[in-house]
């Protein structure tokens, strides 16, 4: 009787092990995975790609008379108005990287969302006796941003029919001149999805 019970347990374990979902790494270059109702990395990649291509193609980053613009993204300037917890810096990091790599503009780390605290801490060392004063940054050396980036991601949920819901995500980005306040460029990308009403889009 005992031997039979052990046999059944062993057989059960083997069968259940076979049903277990395997963990696999995602091929992020050619991901054939099903789309999801919430925003995933593919949506961010597509939105960032389309936004960057539009920005570079617009010529808004071309500085009259040569040189490169200094661009800053304001802290909290990319608003997340979706039902999801989105770190908007994740989207902006991709865009900022491409702006930098384009060679058309430079990003500032002196202020804004990409602020590097050490830039300011280094300036506090001017009067510190332990530091060679010639190696500390002089006053008035920081460059103010000429262009600012701001934006918003928002979500609309629409009942499509009894079983289906439609979720629309809007990625909006703007580039403005810090001195004049004039807007040089703006773009909206829409990512739309339809799925079961039972799915939760956050």
């Amino acid at each position: 009787m005992r031997a039979r019970t052990i046999q059944i347990i062993m057989l059960g374990s083997i069968l259940f092990t076979g049903c277990e979902e395997k963990t696999t790494n995602i091929d992020i270059t050619h991901d054939d995975g099903k789309p999801v109702l919430a925003l995933d990395y593919r949506d961010f990649d597509q939105a960032a790609s389309a936004l960057v291509q539009s920005l570079l193609g617009s010529g808004a980053l071309k500085k009259e008379g040569g040189g490169r613009y200094v661009v800053a993204t304001g802290r909290g300037q990319i608003i997340n108005d979706t039902m999801q917890r989105i770190d908007t810096d994740q989207l902006m990091a991709k865009i900022e990287e491409e702006i930098l790599n384009s060679g058309q503009a430079v990003m500032t780390s002196a202020i804004g969302s990409g602020e590097d605290k050490l830039i300011h801490d280094t300036r506090k060392l001017r009067d510190a006796e332990e530091f060679d004063r010639s190696t500390t940054p002089a006053r008035g050396t920081l460059i103010a941003p000429e262009l600012t980036v701001s934006g918003k991601i928002f979500q609309r949920n629409i009942r499509y029919d009894k079983k289906t819901q439609q979720v629309e995500y809007y990625f909006q980005l703007k580039l403005s001149d810090a001195k004049s306040g004039l807007r040089f460029w703006q773009k909206e990308i829409i990512v739309g999805k339809r799925g079961s009403n039972k799915s939760v889009a956050w």
């Binding site: 050619h30 990287e97 790599n101 060679g103 058309q104």
Partner: protein, 143 residues
């Protein structure tokens, strides 16, 4: 009778190729434009079935490269969908430098595109850096 039907179908296919729109820039779709002897409610299902049978799809007519004012290369793809149904697909453009090496960029991702049946389509891609001198493009089915 059978021979007559076959002859009629053959004529339909031959005559479809001779149709010329009033202005090639304007596309008036089936069920919007007036039916004709060669394109009507009877012949259209036959033509659609034949199109599906021979597997018609997307065709690229030209790829135009130009450098914009900022010195960035822009790619314009013009093509058309030979099928009667809408073709949804993904495409990815990679940019190559003067040595033929791929420029690493976050913009080279699979993007979505679609072309309605029997319609032209256009795609635009912008290089990430001025170093880009050429491109390569790949497509795949939109799952």
């Amino acid at each position: 009778m059978k021979a007559l039907t076959l002859l009629f179908i053959l004529l339909v296919f031959l005559a479809t190729g001779c149709y010329e729109p009033y202005d090639s820039r304007i596309h008036v779709r089936d069920e919007v434009k007036s039916d004709s002897i060669i394109d009507n409610v009877v012949t259209r299902p036959v033509a659609k079935a034949f199109s599906a049978l021979i597997g018609e799809g997307i065709e690229v007519d030209e790829a135009i490269l130009r450098r914009n004012e900022a010195g960035i290369l822009e790619l314009y793809i013009n093509g058309h969908n030979r099928a009667y149904s809408t073709r949804r697909f993904r495409y990815r453009v990679e940019w190559l430098d003067a040595d033929g090496l791929v420029l690493e960029t976050k913009t080279s991702v699979w993007l979505q595109a679609s072309a309605m049946g029997k319609s032209p389509f256009s795609l635009k891609a912008v290089a990430p850096r001025p170093e880009a001198v050429n491109f390569r493009m790949d497509t795949r089915k939109w799952e």
